[in-house]
Symmetry: none
Subunit: 198 residues, 4 copies
Amino acid sequence: MSKPDVAAERKDQIVRATVDCITKHGYHNFSMQDVARTAGVSKGIIHYYFLNKDDLMMSVLDKVAGDIETIIASDMESITNPIDKLKVFIAAAFDIVRSTKEYYQVNMDFWTQINQKKEVRQVISRHYAKFRDSCAKVIEEGVNQGVFRQVNPQHQASLIIATVDGVSLQWLFDETVYDYAEIVKTAGAQLLDSIVVR
Amino acid sequence: MSKPDVAAERKDQIVRATVDCITKHGYHNFSMQDVARTAGVSKGIIHYYFLNKDDLMMSVLDKVAGDIETIIASDMESITNPIDKLKVFIAAAFDIVRSTKEYYQVNMDFWTQINQKKEVRQVISRHYAKFRDSCAKVIEEGVNQGVFRQVNPQHQASLIIATVDGVSLQWLFDETVYDYAEIVKTAGAQLLDSIVVR
Amino acid sequence: MSKPDVAAERKDQIVRATVDCITKHGYHNFSMQDVARTAGVSKGIIHYYFLNKDDLMMSVLDKVAGDIETIIASDMESITNPIDKLKVFIAAAFDIVRSTKEYYQVNMDFWTQINQKKEVRQVISRHYAKFRDSCAKVIEEGVNQGVFRQVNPQHQASLIIATVDGVSLQWLFDETVYDYAEIVKTAGAQLLDSIVVR
Amino acid sequence: MSKPDVAAERKDQIVRATVDCITKHGYHNFSMQDVARTAGVSKGIIHYYFLNKDDLMMSVLDKVAGDIETIIASDMESITNPIDKLKVFIAAAFDIVRSTKEYYQVNMDFWTQINQKKEVRQVISRHYAKFRDSCAKVIEEGVNQGVFRQVNPQHQASLIIATVDGVSLQWLFDETVYDYAEIVKTAGAQLLDSIVVR
DNA sequence: CATGAATGAGATTTCATTCAT
DNA sequence: GATGAATGAAATCTCATTCAT
């Protein structure tokens, strides 16, 4: 069509501005005014497209989680060998933290809502579940093909993601603590070593 | 002296009340009024003992991090064998998340200040450094005694703590995702397996 | 002509929707958006037909007052005897409150504009004047025919209308306070008794 | 006590300022800012003493209704004869409208909440009930003493109050419509005539 | 030391009105 | 005629912080 979807465009524009604001000022320290200024729109229009601040935040969460999933999925797409595929998964997951630090930061900011907002917790849970599943599927395949030992795919997927999150966390607090590339190599090697048949 | 330190007592009383408030209402959703009510003191007196809300928060951070360190140190105290000592460290770290979920939650709430408050980030970094050191020391001893392989103690300490953080995180979002005790066993076994001489 | 007056039709459609909104949400708690939704038109078109919200409100007032007048006039039309005619006037006035409670409610909502909007006050005054006149005319006729005493028709009309308003008011606040039909009978009897020759 | 009750004083100050604001700008057209300015205090302090705007409004309603009751009660106090007492009640009720027009106006402004706020409706109902009772008691005494006919005291009280409300209403919309004193005389005479033994 | 009344900045949200299409 | 996206003013309410007592 010649006429672009104004509503979708505007919503995306506002959501992207919100991500910027969260990155800059943190989950709780930005105002609708900030978002409006960043997006270059009026305060009123944000409430025209989003019910309220919570509604906007949920859209941000959806976008961030969705984008991360898309990146990892596209990285793994062309690989078929389970070992290589798992290596790519781990590498991609670690890489996202470095390449899109803001996204990871935004993600973390949502973590504080664990006890406060049930809906946020549920969306994050679902995101983690999807993330684990896409990793577990690879492991399962490897187990079936006999290249991986008889491990519990879900547990191993959890441990892999846990390592990514935990390693990134310490690094985000202090980037001088270790060379990210180096520890990623060590971590990746040990994680693989735990499941491949020796 | 015989006279107890009223100031220190009051400060501690207020800090403990603040921890309660953060647990209940979240890092950003509690007010000085809440703290005053919870501590059973007036709003004014909080500002007498603490410069402002940020100052109070730093004291909370100190307390929480310090308490966690103390618990783990006391758990490891009596053990001398490096393998057993490392096992205790891992077990204790995992256990804190379950036994004092609120503390861990409060801790997490501070994470979101990474980009916002340099001072908070530094205190957390220092806490993590201490935490890693106490773990690395055990590993180093094991390496020296020949029971652990020639690994980088700091890196392995980082990976151990990363796994604890990451595993806990997923579990806090959804406690049904895995049996905590079970995954802790798997994680502990694999982490040890990565460094003990085979 | 054969072509119906679209403008008048649209205006009426909007005014009726506004009455509905006032009934549902109250004089001050409805928005132009509500009216648009209720009327099934866009927000913009309302401002095409009405200067602004005040202008729309004046049209609503006209409609409500006019409708009430029409009902009462049609009820009295066929009666010629002054005593019967007055009885019908009183009965009809009392009945409107019960049968079209919303209209009366909307009417009342306009009362609060007494001190705020001169124009509203004037329109209501004119409506009351008309209302009194139509009652006073009946009384005057009765006086001339000798069936009513030498009372001041305007005063008596005012008192009759006052009683209707006052009785309705108390009843609208609490419908259990008295049986409406019963008090209407008592009130009607006493009002008549005050002016008919004994 | 030497120390006056600051809280009570401040609350009263704010409530009185609110009455002024309602009189000037109407029930819905005044802001907390207006009240603050009128009372000569900050916006914040109003929310310190009152939960929210609704809470403040309920206090206003209580004050206005209470004050009116007090005035009428004190006017009737010294009279014992039922006929005279009823005359005083009617006169006092009519007089309040004239002498404290603002109060009556504020009262009217609350009427529009009939359909919107249950709590307001209930408080007004209770106020009307009290008002009717104090009138009905006089009538009942007169009936017992044989100076009044065997009328229903509650109904007659309702009709008296209805007349006061209704007469006042028309007059408030247009003060030129009749001489208030004169119609009050007529109304009072007819109301009494309806119940005294002839 | 301790209180709590008071302040004022700022946050979210609503909404009449305008105007390009 | 008709739409609905966009604006911006204004409203309510919260809260860290101050300060007289």
